[in-house]
Symmetry: none
Subunit: 137 residues, 2 copies
DNA sequence: TGCTAAATCACCCGAAAGGATGAAGGAAAA
DNA sequence: TTTTCCTTCATCCTTTCGGGTGATTTAGCA
Protein backbone atom coordinates (compact mmCIF):
# COMPACT_ATOMS: atom_id res chain seq x y z
CA UNK A 1 0.00 0.00 0.00
CA UNK A 2 2.52 2.55 1.18
CA UNK A 3 5.00 1.42 -1.39
CA UNK A 4 2.69 2.04 -4.30
CA UNK A 5 2.06 5.54 -3.01
CA UNK A 6 5.76 6.17 -2.79
CA UNK A 7 6.17 5.14 -6.39
CA UNK A 8 3.18 7.20 -7.33
CA UNK A 9 4.53 10.23 -5.50
CA UNK A 10 7.95 9.91 -7.07
CA UNK A 11 6.44 9.64 -10.50
CA UNK A 12 4.29 12.67 -9.90
CA UNK A 13 7.30 14.65 -8.78
CA UNK A 14 9.28 13.51 -11.76
CA UNK A 15 6.43 14.46 -14.02
CA UNK A 16 6.15 17.89 -12.52
CA UNK A 17 9.73 18.48 -13.56
CA UNK A 18 9.08 17.06 -16.98
CA UNK A 19 6.05 19.27 -17.28
CA UNK A 20 8.01 22.29 -16.26
CA UNK A 21 10.63 21.61 -18.88
CA UNK A 22 8.07 20.83 -21.52
CA UNK A 23 6.18 23.89 -20.50
CA UNK A 24 9.09 26.25 -20.93
CA UNK A 25 10.15 24.64 -24.12
CA UNK A 26 6.64 24.99 -25.36
CA UNK A 27 6.77 28.65 -24.66
CA UNK A 28 10.25 29.30 -25.82
CA UNK A 29 10.17 27.27 -28.97
CA UNK A 30 6.54 28.03 -29.61
CA UNK A 31 5.50 24.43 -29.78
CA UNK A 32 1.81 24.08 -30.42
CA UNK A 33 -0.44 23.48 -27.48
CA UNK A 34 -1.97 20.46 -29.17
CA UNK A 35 1.37 18.73 -29.15
CA UNK A 36 1.85 19.64 -25.53
CA UNK A 37 -1.54 18.24 -24.69
CA UNK A 38 -0.86 15.10 -26.66
CA UNK A 39 2.45 14.49 -24.93
CA UNK A 40 0.99 15.07 -21.49
CA UNK A 41 -2.00 12.90 -22.36
CA UNK A 42 0.12 10.01 -23.57
CA UNK A 43 2.44 10.22 -20.61
CA UNK A 44 -0.35 10.20 -18.09
CA UNK A 45 -2.17 7.54 -20.03
CA UNK A 46 0.87 5.30 -19.80
CA UNK A 47 1.22 5.95 -16.10
CA UNK A 48 -2.50 5.38 -15.70
CA UNK A 49 -2.34 2.05 -17.46
CA UNK A 50 0.57 0.99 -15.35
CA UNK A 51 -1.16 2.08 -12.15
CA UNK A 52 -4.39 0.42 -13.14
CA UNK A 53 -2.72 -2.88 -13.84
CA UNK A 54 -0.66 -2.71 -10.68
CA UNK A 55 -3.60 -1.94 -8.48
CA UNK A 56 -5.77 -4.56 -10.03
CA UNK A 57 -2.99 -7.07 -9.65
CA UNK A 58 -2.60 -6.28 -6.00
CA UNK A 59 -6.28 -6.34 -5.42
CA UNK A 60 -6.46 -9.86 -6.79
CA UNK A 61 -3.39 -11.05 -4.98
CA UNK A 62 -4.67 -10.87 -1.46
CA UNK A 63 -2.83 -13.08 0.93
CA UNK A 64 -4.65 -16.21 1.89
CA UNK A 65 -6.12 -15.52 5.22
CA UNK A 66 -6.13 -17.86 8.08
CA UNK A 67 -9.82 -18.27 8.89
CA UNK A 68 -9.02 -17.74 12.55
CA UNK A 69 -7.64 -14.30 11.73
CA UNK A 70 -11.12 -13.33 10.73
CA UNK A 71 -12.49 -14.91 13.84
CA UNK A 72 -14.13 -17.71 11.94
CA UNK A 73 -14.59 -20.88 13.95
CA UNK A 74 -14.18 -24.35 12.49
CA UNK A 75 -17.87 -24.86 12.43
CA UNK A 76 -18.41 -21.59 10.65
CA UNK A 77 -15.86 -22.47 7.99
CA UNK A 78 -17.61 -25.79 7.61
CA UNK A 79 -20.92 -24.07 7.08
CA UNK A 80 -19.33 -21.55 4.76
CA UNK A 81 -17.98 -24.35 2.63
CA UNK A 82 -21.37 -25.97 2.21
CA UNK A 83 -22.91 -22.57 1.69
CA UNK A 84 -20.58 -21.88 -1.19
CA UNK A 85 -21.41 -25.22 -2.73
CA UNK A 86 -24.93 -24.08 -3.35
CA UNK A 87 -26.77 -25.79 -0.53
CA UNK A 88 -29.77 -24.22 1.16
CA UNK A 89 -29.83 -23.60 4.88
CA UNK A 90 -32.08 -26.60 5.37
CA UNK A 91 -29.77 -28.84 3.38
CA UNK A 92 -26.78 -27.67 5.37
CA UNK A 93 -28.67 -28.31 8.59
CA UNK A 94 -29.48 -31.84 7.44
CA UNK A 95 -25.91 -32.52 6.42
CA UNK A 96 -24.53 -31.36 9.75
CA UNK A 97 -27.34 -32.93 11.82
CA UNK A 98 -28.33 -29.70 13.49
CA UNK A 99 -31.41 -27.53 13.33
CA UNK A 100 -32.17 -24.93 10.71
CA UNK A 101 -31.98 -22.22 13.36
CA UNK A 102 -28.48 -23.23 14.27
CA UNK A 103 -27.36 -22.88 10.69
CA UNK A 104 -29.01 -19.51 10.47
CA UNK A 105 -27.13 -18.41 13.53
CA UNK A 106 -23.84 -19.63 12.14
CA UNK A 107 -24.48 -17.91 8.86
CA UNK A 108 -25.40 -14.67 10.56
CA UNK A 109 -22.08 -14.67 12.34
CA UNK A 110 -20.28 -15.53 9.13
CA UNK A 111 -21.85 -12.48 7.52
CA UNK A 112 -20.71 -10.29 10.36
CA UNK A 113 -17.18 -11.59 10.23
CA UNK A 114 -16.91 -11.44 6.47
CA UNK A 115 -18.75 -8.16 6.37
CA UNK A 116 -21.27 -9.58 3.93
CA UNK A 117 -24.93 -8.82 3.50
CA UNK A 118 -25.96 -11.84 1.48
CA UNK A 119 -24.86 -15.40 1.08
CA UNK A 120 -23.68 -14.74 -2.44
CA UNK A 121 -21.54 -11.92 -1.11
CA UNK A 122 -20.15 -14.18 1.56
CA UNK A 123 -19.21 -16.69 -1.11
CA UNK A 124 -17.54 -13.97 -3.11
CA UNK A 125 -15.52 -12.73 -0.17
CA UNK A 126 -14.62 -16.20 0.98
CA UNK A 127 -13.35 -16.92 -2.49
CA UNK A 128 -11.29 -13.76 -2.59
CA UNK A 129 -9.75 -14.67 0.72
CA UNK A 130 -9.28 -18.22 -0.45
CA UNK A 131 -11.13 -19.45 2.58
CA UNK A 132 -12.84 -22.06 0.47
CA UNK A 133 -11.75 -24.33 -2.33
CA UNK A 134 -10.91 -22.44 -5.54
CA UNK A 135 -13.43 -24.19 -7.72
CA UNK A 136 -15.00 -26.70 -5.41
CA UNK A 137 -17.50 -28.94 -7.07
CA UNK B 1 -13.42 -7.10 -27.06
CA UNK B 2 -15.19 -4.95 -29.58
CA UNK B 3 -17.23 -3.36 -26.87
CA UNK B 4 -14.24 -2.09 -24.96
CA UNK B 5 -12.87 -0.53 -28.12
CA UNK B 6 -16.18 1.13 -28.71
CA UNK B 7 -16.09 2.62 -25.26
CA UNK B 8 -12.48 3.58 -25.76
CA UNK B 9 -13.25 5.18 -29.08
CA UNK B 10 -16.19 7.08 -27.72
CA UNK B 11 -14.15 8.36 -24.82
CA UNK B 12 -11.37 9.45 -27.11
CA UNK B 13 -13.83 11.26 -29.31
CA UNK B 14 -15.42 12.92 -26.36
CA UNK B 15 -12.03 13.94 -25.07
CA UNK B 16 -11.02 15.41 -28.40
CA UNK B 17 -13.99 17.72 -28.12
CA UNK B 18 -13.17 18.56 -24.53
CA UNK B 19 -9.60 19.25 -25.52
CA UNK B 20 -10.69 21.46 -28.35
CA UNK B 21 -12.86 23.51 -26.06
CA UNK B 22 -10.24 23.65 -23.36
CA UNK B 23 -7.69 24.55 -25.94
CA UNK B 24 -9.55 27.51 -27.30
CA UNK B 25 -10.51 28.71 -23.90
CA UNK B 26 -6.90 28.47 -22.91
CA UNK B 27 -6.02 30.71 -25.78
CA UNK B 28 -8.89 33.11 -25.49
CA UNK B 29 -9.02 33.49 -21.76
CA UNK B 30 -5.33 33.05 -21.33
CA UNK B 31 -5.66 30.19 -18.90
CA UNK B 32 -2.32 29.00 -17.75
CA UNK B 33 -0.77 26.12 -19.57
CA UNK B 34 -0.11 24.35 -16.30
CA UNK B 35 -3.81 24.08 -15.63
CA UNK B 36 -4.37 22.79 -19.11
CA UNK B 37 -1.65 20.21 -18.64
CA UNK B 38 -3.04 19.20 -15.28
CA UNK B 39 -6.54 18.73 -16.61
CA UNK B 40 -5.35 16.73 -19.59
CA UNK B 41 -3.08 14.73 -17.35
CA UNK B 42 -5.79 13.85 -14.87
CA UNK B 43 -8.27 12.94 -17.57
CA UNK B 44 -5.88 10.66 -19.36
CA UNK B 45 -4.68 9.25 -16.12
CA UNK B 46 -8.22 8.24 -15.25
CA UNK B 47 -8.72 6.68 -18.64
CA UNK B 48 -5.38 5.00 -18.30
CA UNK B 49 -6.25 3.49 -14.95
CA UNK B 50 -9.50 2.23 -16.29
CA UNK B 51 -7.85 0.76 -19.38
CA UNK B 52 -5.11 -0.83 -17.35
CA UNK B 53 -7.51 -2.53 -15.02
CA UNK B 54 -9.72 -3.66 -17.85
CA UNK B 55 -6.90 -5.07 -19.88
CA UNK B 56 -5.31 -6.80 -16.97
CA UNK B 57 -8.65 -8.27 -16.06
CA UNK B 58 -9.14 -9.59 -19.57
CA UNK B 59 -5.61 -10.90 -19.74
CA UNK B 60 -6.20 -13.00 -16.67
CA UNK B 61 -9.45 -14.42 -17.87
CA UNK B 62 -9.22 -18.04 -18.80
CA UNK B 63 -11.19 -19.04 -21.83
CA UNK B 64 -14.75 -19.54 -20.92
CA UNK B 65 -17.16 -22.17 -21.93
CA UNK B 66 -19.34 -20.97 -24.77
CA UNK B 67 -22.48 -19.69 -23.07
CA UNK B 68 -24.49 -20.14 -26.24
CA UNK B 69 -24.01 -23.89 -25.99
CA UNK B 70 -26.18 -23.79 -22.94
CA UNK B 71 -28.61 -21.45 -24.60
CA UNK B 72 -27.58 -18.55 -22.44
CA UNK B 73 -28.07 -15.16 -24.03
CA UNK B 74 -25.60 -12.32 -23.64
CA UNK B 75 -27.85 -10.55 -21.23
CA UNK B 76 -28.23 -13.66 -19.17
CA UNK B 77 -24.49 -14.10 -18.94
CA UNK B 78 -24.22 -10.49 -17.92
CA UNK B 79 -26.75 -10.99 -15.16
CA UNK B 80 -25.07 -14.22 -14.13
CA UNK B 81 -21.81 -12.39 -13.76
CA UNK B 82 -23.26 -9.79 -11.43
CA UNK B 83 -25.18 -12.49 -9.63
CA UNK B 84 -21.98 -14.33 -8.89
CA UNK B 85 -20.38 -11.17 -7.63
CA UNK B 86 -22.78 -11.09 -4.74
CA UNK B 87 -25.24 -8.47 -5.88
CA UNK B 88 -28.92 -8.66 -5.00
CA UNK B 89 -31.55 -8.65 -7.70
CA UNK B 90 -32.34 -5.03 -6.96
CA UNK B 91 -28.70 -4.04 -7.22
CA UNK B 92 -28.33 -5.87 -10.51
CA UNK B 93 -31.43 -4.13 -11.79
CA UNK B 94 -29.98 -0.77 -10.82
CA UNK B 95 -26.66 -1.54 -12.43
CA UNK B 96 -28.24 -2.59 -15.70
CA UNK B 97 -30.88 0.14 -15.63
CA UNK B 98 -33.81 -2.24 -15.87
CA UNK B 99 -36.57 -3.19 -13.49
CA UNK B 100 -36.37 -5.73 -10.73
CA UNK B 101 -38.93 -7.87 -12.53
CA UNK B 102 -36.75 -8.04 -15.59
CA UNK B 103 -33.83 -9.30 -13.57
CA UNK B 104 -36.03 -11.88 -11.93
CA UNK B 105 -37.11 -13.10 -15.33
CA UNK B 106 -33.53 -13.35 -16.53
CA UNK B 107 -32.49 -15.19 -13.43
CA UNK B 108 -35.38 -17.62 -13.72
CA UNK B 109 -34.23 -18.53 -17.20
CA UNK B 110 -30.66 -18.83 -16.04
CA UNK B 111 -31.78 -21.33 -13.43
CA UNK B 112 -33.62 -23.35 -16.02
CA UNK B 113 -30.70 -23.42 -18.37
CA UNK B 114 -28.13 -24.16 -15.70
CA UNK B 115 -30.46 -26.59 -14.01
CA UNK B 116 -30.10 -24.76 -10.71
CA UNK B 117 -32.55 -24.27 -7.90
CA UNK B 118 -30.87 -21.41 -6.10
CA UNK B 119 -28.60 -18.55 -6.98
CA UNK B 120 -25.77 -20.09 -5.04
CA UNK B 121 -26.18 -23.25 -7.06
CA UNK B 122 -26.17 -21.23 -10.25
CA UNK B 123 -22.92 -19.62 -9.19
CA UNK B 124 -21.45 -23.00 -8.45
CA UNK B 125 -22.43 -24.44 -11.80
CA UNK B 126 -21.33 -21.34 -13.67
CA UNK B 127 -17.98 -21.62 -12.00
CA UNK B 128 -17.62 -25.27 -12.88
CA UNK B 129 -18.36 -24.44 -16.50
CA UNK B 130 -16.05 -21.43 -16.33
CA UNK B 131 -18.87 -19.25 -17.54
CA UNK B 132 -17.76 -16.55 -15.18
CA UNK B 133 -14.41 -15.18 -14.12
CA UNK B 134 -12.45 -17.47 -11.78
CA UNK B 135 -12.28 -14.99 -8.93
CA UNK B 136 -14.00 -11.98 -10.35
CA UNK B 137 -13.80 -8.99 -8.09
C1' DT C 1 -43.90 -11.02 -44.16
C1' DG C 2 -45.05 -14.06 -40.64
C1' DC C 3 -42.29 -16.67 -37.03
C1' DT C 4 -39.11 -16.80 -33.27
C1' DA C 5 -36.15 -15.44 -29.72
C1' DA C 6 -34.52 -11.89 -26.78
C1' DA C 7 -35.41 -8.33 -23.62
C1' DT C 8 -38.43 -5.87 -21.16
C1' DC C 9 -42.04 -5.41 -17.32
C1' DA C 10 -46.05 -6.70 -14.26
C1' DC C 11 -48.69 -9.22 -10.57
C1' DC C 12 -49.44 -12.86 -7.28
C1' DC C 13 -47.98 -16.02 -3.92
C1' DG C 14 -45.29 -19.10 -1.21
C1' DA C 15 -40.61 -20.32 0.27
C1' DA C 16 -36.17 -19.07 1.72
C1' DA C 17 -33.18 -16.00 3.73
C1' DG C 18 -31.83 -12.57 6.98
C1' DG C 19 -32.01 -9.38 11.37
C1' DA C 20 -32.71 -8.93 16.27
C1' DT C 21 -32.63 -10.94 20.41
C1' DG C 22 -32.42 -14.25 24.03
C1' DA C 23 -30.86 -18.38 26.16
C1' DA C 24 -28.38 -22.53 27.73
C1' DG C 25 -24.72 -26.12 28.00
C1' DG C 26 -19.85 -27.02 27.50
C1' DA C 27 -15.00 -26.22 26.76
C1' DA C 28 -11.05 -23.45 27.08
C1' DA C 29 -8.62 -19.73 28.86
C1' DA C 30 -7.54 -16.12 32.20
C1' DT D 1 -13.33 -20.10 39.34
C1' DT D 2 -15.01 -16.61 36.77
C1' DT D 3 -14.94 -15.19 32.02
C1' DT D 4 -15.13 -15.91 27.27
C1' DC D 5 -16.14 -18.28 23.19
C1' DC D 6 -18.41 -21.93 20.64
C1' DT D 7 -22.31 -24.42 19.59
C1' DT D 8 -26.76 -25.19 19.87
C1' DC D 9 -31.76 -23.77 19.51
C1' DA D 10 -35.74 -20.62 19.65
C1' DT D 11 -39.20 -16.78 18.32
C1' DC D 12 -40.70 -12.79 15.84
C1' DC D 13 -40.53 -10.09 12.01
C1' DT D 14 -39.01 -8.21 7.46
C1' DT D 15 -36.89 -8.67 3.12
C1' DT D 16 -35.45 -11.21 -0.69
C1' DC D 17 -36.00 -15.06 -3.75
C1' DG D 18 -38.16 -17.89 -6.84
C1' DG D 19 -42.21 -20.00 -9.51
C1' DG D 20 -45.95 -19.23 -12.49
C1' DT D 21 -48.15 -16.70 -15.81
C1' DG D 22 -48.92 -13.32 -19.26
C1' DA D 23 -47.85 -9.27 -22.11
C1' DT D 24 -45.24 -6.00 -25.24
C1' DT D 25 -41.62 -4.60 -28.25
C1' DT D 26 -37.87 -5.30 -31.25
C1' DA D 27 -34.67 -7.66 -34.15
C1' DG D 28 -33.36 -11.41 -36.93
C1' DC D 29 -34.58 -15.32 -39.65
C1' DA D 30 -37.15 -18.16 -42.85
Amino acid sequence: MKKSWLIYGSLMGFLMIVLEVTHYKAFVKDIQIELFGAVVGILFMLIGVWLGMTWYKKKNNIERYDPSKLGLSQREVEVLELLSQGYSNQEIADKLFVSLNTIKTHISKIYQKLNAKRRTQAIQKARELALIAPSSE
